[in-house]
Symmetry: C2
């Protein structure tokens, strides 16, 4: 019987790694750099080496290790095939098989946002729920959909790509995905700044936000909390984009709870207020009482979820 | 081992019923009226009686019957609990348990649109696929989401309620659900007529559609096929609402195929053309190659899907 599990959260800059007991106790946590040279060919060998070193260091019995879960920044299907990860340099291949051969342990890979969702379900803001949507508001907007306890990976691993739901017809700027008017263009940290700059340029209404050249989403939320009228308008527009999009998502998957994480969520409960008041009027009545919560695992959601992925 | 299965499609006017072999062969098909008196209390006893009569008529051995599947017009959760069906007069209760007691057979209930989706997956336009979205364009707009072969019922049975995705901010008319600007208000048969009437009222541009007082969606599609410029504009707007909404849905669930059924789908391939060209520009690239197909089971999708629900 396995007792231990490794959870790996592969990012563009660092690989976060965790050793867990099968009851979700985090026993150890460390990081290694992501070496993207040679089209990312060194990434998995580096991870395998680090796991091997930890097994030796902790004097673990190989038979007691359930396996390795890994969250990867790209679309991953149920079989562990990644369909390109441009910011790692990776093309299409089976992550499960490749890493499993290197570590001689069972491996299960998933999309990083989906895996983080599993983490929040297991031990975070969504603990106790089996039907949830998680939203990560960071540099981009990521999503994870969990149905009856399982990640909705989608046909080719593109399930939960909620940052690319089209929400604005009048947009000239192109999103990272190549489309125009994606949710991510407004509801990410940079998106909120984009909304803010547009609003500030519209007129001369006084605002504390005019006092800086280096506006951030945090500044906007701080100004909202301080009662700045322009900041409140910005938060309202941000909430409208996100609330309406989440209402649409809820019409599709009818979650019990929506868990909001990522850097922008550090704004706290005020963020949920602006989302919920723009969610309720647009959602089907069956999902009107869907709960909202803030994510609680922060940057550790990925390693928790990766561990959960293997435990199954 | 079971060899036979009953599939029941409970509608507001009639109950469609089918007897199937477990290889999906439809052996017999019949209907009984839906008696909505007494808050719908007679509906399940009537169904039980009809099944009993069929068992006698066909001299079926009870041990050879796998069970009864039933599609119900309302939200139904995984346990068979219906959360009200206003057009039957039903309140909250467990359909599985109630009907099972009456027929002394295993019963599995599902939402009618979700069940029809299962039917199309089993033997219709989505045969061979395990990740699909079905859209029923009829009096309303219904949806069924199937993930890895299973219906996405949602937390309280409101999964796949895609007709109530908010798609239009500038709407004064109230949708049947109580909200404003739902997809159903534009992409149903009546919705298409609504779009058409608004367009016709806008100016005096000549159109064959002006020659009738009793406009239907079929007339609009016929006019589109005949090259009527106004009808083409109407189809374009219809396609924009539906294509964009389906693109949003695909960002969430990443289906391999989207199957379009319901009365409006009788327009044929031209309908798919208008949907697909308004889907591709708005969808995340991972879902850009999602296939589109017309439903093929017509009014029988419900009984097929109900049978499939029991076979599992």
């Amino acid at each position: 019987m396995g007792k231990f599990v490794f959870g790996v959260d592969l990012g563009g800059t660092t690989v976060k790694m965790g050793l867990f007991a099968d009851d979700a106790t985090l026993l150890d946590k460390w990081e290694i750099p992501t070496d993207k040279t040679d089209k990312g060919a060194k990434i998995l060998p580096d991870i395998a080496k680090s796991i091997e070193e930890k097994i030796v260091e902790k004097e673990l019995n190989r038979e007691e290790i359930i396996g390795v879960g890994i969250g990867v920044p790209g679309p991953v299907d149920k079989q562990g095939v990644i369909y390109k990860a441009p910011n790692l340099g990776w093309d299409v291949f089976n992550v499960n098989d490749t890493l499993s051969e290197m570590v001689s342990l069972p491996v299960k890979a998933g999309n990083d946002a989906n895996v983080a969702a599993l983490g929040e379900m297991w031990k975070g803001g969504g603990a106790g729920y089996r039907n949830l949507v998680t939203v990560t508001l960071g540099t981009g907007v990521g999503g994870g959909i969990i149905i009856e306890g399982d990640v909705l990976a989608g046909f080719n691993g593109s399930g939960g790509e909620i940052g690319h739901i089209h929400v604005e017809d009048n947009e000239e700027k192109i999103c990272g995905c190549g489309n125009k008017g994606c949710l991510e263009q407004y509801a990410s940290a940079t998106g909120m700044v984009y909304i803010a700059k547009k609003r500030l340029a519209k007129d001369e209404m006084p605002s504390v936000l005019r006092e800086t050249d280096d506006l951030t989403a945090k500044m906007v939320w701080d100004a909202v909390k301080a009662g700045d009228a322009v900041a409140i308008e910005i938060a309202e527009q941000f909430g409208k984009y996100l609330g309406k999009a989440l209402a649409g998502i809820a019409c599709v998957v009818n979650p019990e709870i929506i868990v909001i994480g990522g850097g922008v969520s550090k704004a706290g409960e005020v963020l949920l207020d602006y989302i919920v008041k723009n969610y309720k009027p647009y959602v089907f009545f069956g999902s009107r009482e869907t709960k909202f919560a803030l994510a609680t695992l922060g940057n550790d959601a990925g390693i928790y979820g990766a561990a959960r992925l293997v435990i199954g």
